[in-house]
């Protein structure tokens, strides 16, 4: 009796767990396996991957998302954050960086929206220089203060309040890699019919025609 009762309990417990996994992980994963990469989606270069690891290291994920919702669900479209993102866009992402907070704006197409490397360097060094009212933390450790910019280096154009006489602030290769990664975030290419999976738009589905 005791054995049967234990058997019922443990089988039931494991079954409810397994069913949940099958339903929301296993089965979607099987369906997603048939998604093929869009031709315009490039694999990350080594520098971009390095920059992506800096993005993860500094926890950018906790304030920025990388997913664009459909028309009719939130104002992502009206804010020009790009076309709705689909599973095919994320094929080369490991770990995924979809994000769950928008303390800062969505970055899925930041490379298209803000292609200026100089802007990004200033923004990273001291966000309030280019965006007054921003609460993003500064990242001065991604930069170096030295006497002057060396060959091939370009010092940041800082206002007088932040720059000391006779010194220059130059980006380290970490800063440059991070910005290379951010600039690679450009998913404005169109999506083909077969690469898309149903999104969760409340109203009409919006797929860009090829």
């Amino acid at each position: 009796m005791m054995f049967i009762r234990s058997f019922v309990f443990f089988v039931g417990v494991l079954a409810t767990f397994a069913l949940g996994w099958i339903g929301i992980v296993g089965l979607p994963d099987i369906m997603l396996a048939k998604v093929s990469p869009p031709p315009e989606l490039q694999r990350y270069t080594d520098v971009q991957l390095y920059g992506r690891s800096i993005y993860i290291r500094e926890g950018c994920l906790y304030c920025h998302s990388q997913q664009v919702r459909a028309e009719g669900f939130g104002s992502d479209q009206a804010r020009f954050w790009g076309r709705p993102s689909v599973p095919a866009d994320y094929l080369y992402d490991k770990p995924h960086l979809l994000g769950t907070m928008r303390t800062g704006p969505d970055l899925f197409n930041i490379g298209a929206r803000q292609p200026s490397e100089d802007w990004h360097l200033l923004h990273l060094y001291e966000p309030r220089l280019v965006t007054p009212g921003s609460i993003m933390p500064p990242y001065p450790w991604l930069f170096r203060r030295q006497q002057s910019a060396g060959p091939g280096e370009k010092a940041l154009q800082l206002p007088d309040s932040l720059s000391a006489a006779g010194t220059a602030v130059v980006p380290t290769k970490e800063a440059k890699a991070l910005i290379a990664y951010l600039l690679s975030l450009n998913h404005t290419y169109p999506i083909r019919q077969e690469a898309a999976v149903d999104d969760t738009a409340k109203t009409k589905k919006s797929r860009t025609a090829p």
Partner: protein
């Protein structure tokens, strides 16, 4: 023989006395066998509560004061925030939960703890894993997924620690001297079966792309499903009837509550990805499962409410009952909120906002942590054979925690809702949306500071009782005298 006269005035002449005396001896023996491992777990949990609270408080202030300590890489928000999350969940709640479970296992099985050596090793490895993980994240080795930031070596230590804990607990359970397996034990046994599997799959790195996102949030919500919530419910199901002195209202409801919980809660994960790049049907399934949670949550709420009905004046003097009832009511509230929050209508507004964080703290703090506080106030005097030396400190702790979390929750719920509405109004520039959240972020920092202060008071008081310091008291450490409460 003084220690034995804790609950009795000495052997009496009435016939039941011998049996009660043996019962008493047995219970003291069981408590003694669980005492050291329980205290090791509880003390470790309280240590991580302090570390995690401070990390959270600093992170909170940095969010609206970004220049504060802005030059320190190890203290940047993006590293402090995951340290806070991982230390309060896998540290405070998990370790204090283990301590409560060890003590409960002895009591509910009416037998000594078996293989306690494994428990000491487990607690040691667990602390090491937390320390390693926290240092690594601060140094810049975040593994990249929310709730799974600890790099593999730290995660492996925690997984091993959990398995050792579960082995000792199962071995003790198999040696039980009672025929009936109490409700709390169903949740505990299920959690010890589920969590290792869950944790290993999540850390195995099997997926990529949006499939990995689905796995990430199946894990994130399931950690709450299979480990944190069962800790809270196991505590509530034991301490509410035990302190009141009446049995749980309906065992049937308990059964219904457990199995519907197991069936539906496992499917909730994708409600964290509403509107995201995943198949619509999968997300809809999670939303439906989230709504179905009304069934088990109502079962639990009715059960606890009917058990406590007519006896709620005890909450006015018993610290354990006050903390646990606060927690149980918060469970109902956070679950109702969560079921509604999962719908697309609400998600359209609150997804990506601070609202979610408010919800998370209503669950992890107002529900689980408050129940753990209540459990510790009950357990420690029985293990130390020493009464709480300063009842005023208990009162302070309660009000700092209760008011703190209330401010916290209100700040982020209202602020998050406003943030969501403004985000959905494209004519409002993004930076203005950020500006309007600042007063709410300030309020959250204040709430969090109160909570942290409460934890300092609590930790100090726990240190006193573990070392049997402070004035020796025999009167119960109540908020007020029972007779006063009865007179109302």
């Amino acid at each position: 023989m003084r220690g034995l006269q804790t609950d009795q005035a000495g052997p009496r002449l009435d016939p039941g006395a011998g049996e009660k005396f043996r019962d008493e001896l047995q219970r003291i023996g069981i408590d003694d066998s669980s005492a050291s491992p329980t205290v090791f777990y509880l003390a470790s949990g309280i240590l991580w509560l302090l570390i995690g609270s401070f990390a959270g408080a600093v992170a909170s202030f940095k969010l609206h004061l970004p220049e504060w300590l802005g030059n320190e890489a190890t203290l940047t928000f993006g590293r402090l925030r995951p340290v806070h999350l991982n230390t309060v969940t896998y540290g405070w709640i998990s370790l204090a939960g283990c301590g409560m479970i060890v003590w409960l296992m002895g009591r509910l099985c009416r037998t000594q703890i078996r293989w306690a050596g494994l428990l000491y090793l487990s607690a040691l490895l667990w602390n090491l894993g937390l320390l390693l993980g926290s240092v690594l994240v601060l140094a810049g080795y975040d593994a990249g997924m929310e709730w799974l930031e600890f790099p593999l070596p730290a995660a492996a230590l925690i997984a091993a620690a959990f398995v050792l804990f579960a082995v000792s607990m199962f071995r003790t359970f198999v040696a039980r001297q009672v025929e009936h397996v109490y409700v709390s034990l169903w949740y505990i046994l299920a959690s010890m079966t589920w969590f290792p599997v869950l944790y290993v799959i999540a850390n195995a790195g099997l997926y990529q792309g949006v499939g990995e996102a689905a796995m990430n949030w199946w894990y994130g919500h399931n950690a709450i499903t299979v480990w944190f919530t069962p800790i809270g419910l196991a505590g509530a199901y034991y301490f509410i009837p035990k302190v009141i002195g009446r049995p749980i209202y309906s065992y049937y409801l308990g059964l219904l509550g457990f199995w519907s919980f197991a069936l539906f809660y496992n499917w909730n994960g994708l409600h964290h990805l509403v509107g995201g790049p995943l198949p619509t049907w999968a997300i809809s399934v999670s939303i439906v499962a989230s709504l179905m949670m009304f069934v088990p949550v109502l079962a639990v709420a009715v059960n606890h409410h009917m058990t406590a009905l007519g006896h709620l004046r005890i909450v006015s003097y018993s610290p354990t009952l006050r903390f646990v009832v606060f927690g149980a009511m918060s469970y109902t509230a956070v679950s109702f909120q969560g079921s509604l929050e999962a719908t697309r209508t609400i998600q359209e507004v609150v997804h990506f906002t601070h609202y979610t964080i408010g919800h998370a703290h209503l669950g992890m703090y107002a529900f689980v942590s408050m129940i753990l506080f209540g459990a510790i106030y009950y357990i420690l005097p029985r293990l130390a054979k020493w009464e709480w030396p300063y009842p005023t400190l208990i009162k302070m702790h309660f009000w700092l925690s209760a008011v703190g979390v209330a401010i916290y929750f209100l700040a982020l719920t209202i602020g998050g809702w406003v943030q969501g509405l403004e985000l959905n109004t494209p004519s409002i520039p993004f930076v203005d949306v950020v500006r309007s959240t600042i007063p709410y972020l300030w309020a959250r920092s204040i709430g969090g500071t109160l909570m942290t202060a409460g934890h300092c008071v609590f930790a100090y008081h726990c240190a006193l009782i573990i070392y049997r310091a402070g004035p020796r008291r025999f009167a119960p450490a109540w908020f007020r005298r029972a007779e006063e409460a009865a007179a109302e």
